[in-house]
Symmetry: C2
Subunit: 309 residues, 2 copies
């Protein structure tokens, strides 16, 4: 069984490749720090990106949101003067309405997530990292805000002074998360944002410890290639926590206490010795997830590195 | 100032005619007994029908719901296994999302209703009959159900054994309702359902008394023409409360303690003496609301009858 700690687009695409090379059971632990309440609805961007992608219901070009999407409700909400910086599509909205109705009825997020996964016939088990409300907050431009306001609303256009997971201290891992990590044969960190995706999951008390203590090898895929994020704005986030935007620096940030193996891109092959010197097995392979084939090759290399020892 | 106690389509169309013949201020007291929670959202069918109709945003053929409507969210919700018997359109859904968000923030229904009215630039003041949650319930076919389940779900296809407004005893009129009735120059009962629309409004403790005690004349427009409802299924509802489905029987049901004048259709002219014998001034005029002109003539006749004495 393989456990994957997942953010949004990068993780979802990696999972497609992983599904192409293994028939093992896959348990995905998804980031919920980006969750936000919009128009009274609980929106879980990372969980939904994984769900829509693996459920063949994603907007392929965009990488998130539903295919064949329309924005009739959002257009009407704007007429009511409702905020428009985070526009929800009509089909996507049905997911959030369904989720909200169940949460209001007292159903836990991990059960709701399973119900949504069932509707999209997911080939993996998808668990939220926690059922508790936590929230990634950012201090930037002199004020504190929800991560989505910085990321989507401000397009990450200014440096981040501080980033933290609010209410993390009282959160507990969702049922099944620690159990999956403990019984995993392999634990994979896909090329998700090391700060606001994987870092957030590891910030839920008990998860970092479970990963570090797990009998399974932990292998990561660098989200940084040639000194820049493969996608997104991870550089902003790494700067906020004082980590250089390089494949090697991210590996050292996770550290040998957590990571057993680290895949870097061919163009970063020169950093392999320094990562290995830090006690982490490292290999350089092509890391661009251009299609399912190239992504499958990355997933295969990750599994191979994990079990190389 | 004119106060109109309003149900849905019949009242909304009557109001269009009334607006064409008067420049007096109009306060509409709307029925909320039909309100229902669907997909976690508070739906107010009668308030919204008045709003959309007077805001030139209604689906004209249907008489309710939004113009240029689509059903993308409803189609998706069906994929989640959500109930489909009451389908909400996408544009309509924005109203319910906006309402729900404000109600959740602790804003009272009458303030929310005003905010929605503002967005549609309503030429009247629209007040819900109460801010409290009340619910029209029906006993039919051996089981108890929400009125909408009977009306929309079962298409009123079986007789009603009993009908009542749940939680009416502890409800109070919304702020402004009694005050408007007390300072009105005319009070009008449009051709709405005498049981589940006007009867429901009058069932809120304090409203019937205020109407009966108001200094203004109270004039009604019969919703029954030639022994059948002008529209809808009022006959089912009248049968449930033991009232004949005739213009005269409905007038006697309201009674001289409430009504000062009653308009019946030309085809019901023969009942005029019996209504007047009951102490209610009565006139026969064409009551079909075919267009704004014919409806304006009805409204004019109602105002004229109210102030004939």
């Amino acid at each position: 069984m393989i456990v994957v700690l997942a953010g949004g687009i990068g993780a979802a695409r990696f999972l497609r490749g992983l599904l192409a090379v293994t028939s093992e059971e896959i348990v995905v632990v998804g980031n919920t720090g980006d969750d936000i309440t919009l128009h009274g609805l609980r929106v879980c961007p990372d969980l939904d990106t994984v769900t829509y992608t693996l459920g063949n219901a994603v907007h392929e070009e965009q990488g998130w949101g539903r295919d064949d999407e329309t924005y009739t409700v959002a257009t009407e909400l704007a007429e009511f003067g409702e905020p428009t910086w985070f526009r929800l599509g009509d089909r996507d909205l049905a997911t959030h309405l369904f989720r909200r109705r169940l949460l209001d009825a007292g159903v836990s997020l991990h059960v709701v997530t399973q119900r949504i996964a069932d509707r999209f016939a997911l080939p993996v088990t998808l668990l939220p990292m926690t059922n508790d409300m936590v929230e990634t907050r950012v201090l930037a431009d002199g004020r504190e805000m929800h991560f989505q306001e910085y990321w989507v609303g401000m397009h990450a256009s200014v440096p981040v002074d501080r980033i933290w997971l609010q209410d993390a201290l009282t959160a507990t891992p969702a049922p099944g998360v620690v159990e999956a990590i403990e019984r995993a044969d392999t634990i994979v960190l896909p090329p998700s944002n090391p700060v606001v995706s994987i870092g957030t999951i590891l910030a839920v008390p008990g998860i970092r410890e479970a990963v570090a203590d797990a009998p399974a090898p932990v292998v990561g895929v660098s989200p940084i290639v040639g000194g820049a994020p493969v996608r997104g704005m991870a550089d902003r986030m790494l700067a906020a926590i004082g980590v250089d935007c390089t494949a090697a620096a991210v590996a050292r940030h996770y550290g040998a206490g957590l990571l057993d193996g680290w895949l870097v891109d061919e163009s970063d092959a020169s950093c392999v010795p320094s990562v290995e010197a830090a006690g982490i097995a490292c290999r350089a392979v092509p890391l661009w997830m251009n299609d399912v084939e190239s992504t499958a090759a990355i997933a295969k290399a990750a599994l191979s590195l994990a079990h190389a020892g």
